[in-house]
Symmetry: C2
Subunit: 107 residues, 2 copies
DNA sequence: CAAGTAATTAAATGGTTGTTTAACTATTGA
DNA sequence: TCAATAGTTAAACAACCATTTAATTACTTG
């Protein structure tokens, strides 16, 4: 799951959250950099990561480049986590199997 | 969100998934290492990361140490992602604001 | 076309992460 | 108590990641 790794970094997570808030219109790179208070190259670096993970899309408008969140990708990440890390919808512990051998030490 | 970073690594994600499958009983470290096919020190390293993120708990039983997934922590991670990266429950794009200035170039 | 703006790419660098090998601690059982 | 087993901790090292500065591309407007 590439998208998981992409979001596991403060700057990228913050950037993505701003894009989510911005909706389908997205935000120009410069605007994002300003809001995140990071340099343009640093932002480019992180946006590249997000784009590579399929979490954001870029659309050029004149000399601006608008980035927007890909909600489908996010939803599929959420789906993956729910299924694989939560035993399905409700994040329930799997049924107990009743194993466990010897002298239990309740330290 | 420490747990996000903790899961953003293949070995740790795999380990966590095995623990989720194992349910509340958990798995002994050695068993985990065997299933993941990694060395004990490598596993220790990653379990330490997961534990530090609150995603797993350890319980000693004789000379075995059983690790189990913390489902509450996972659920709260899921909650965070849903709220912050998806505009709430349904992962819907935010309402369009109808901005956008000049000559649209539909390249 | 020249100057200016928006953004990316390139190169260098410091910091973090993951893996390995070796040494260590703790528990069990002969 | 000694040997064996389960696991962690420590130290060394390679690989990767994020930030910076400088250079470059692309678009717009005078």
């Amino acid at each position: 799951m590439k998208s998981l790794a992409a979001l596991a970094q403060d700057t990228r997570l913050d950037a993505f959250r701003l894009l989510v808030q911005a909706g389908p219109e997205g935000l120009a790179a410069g605007e994002l950099a300003a809001r995140l208070d990071i340099s343009p190259p640093a932002l480019s670096f992180h946006l590249r990561g997000l784009a590579h993970a399929g979490l954001v899309r870029a659309q050029q408008d004149g000399r601006f480049i608008y980035y927007s969140a890909d909600f489908d990708a996010m939803q599929s990440l959420l789906g993956f986590l729910t299924e694989n890390c939560c035993n399905g919808a409700a994040c329930t512990p799997a049924r107990a199997t009743g194993r466990r051998s010897s002298a239990r030490r309740t330290s």
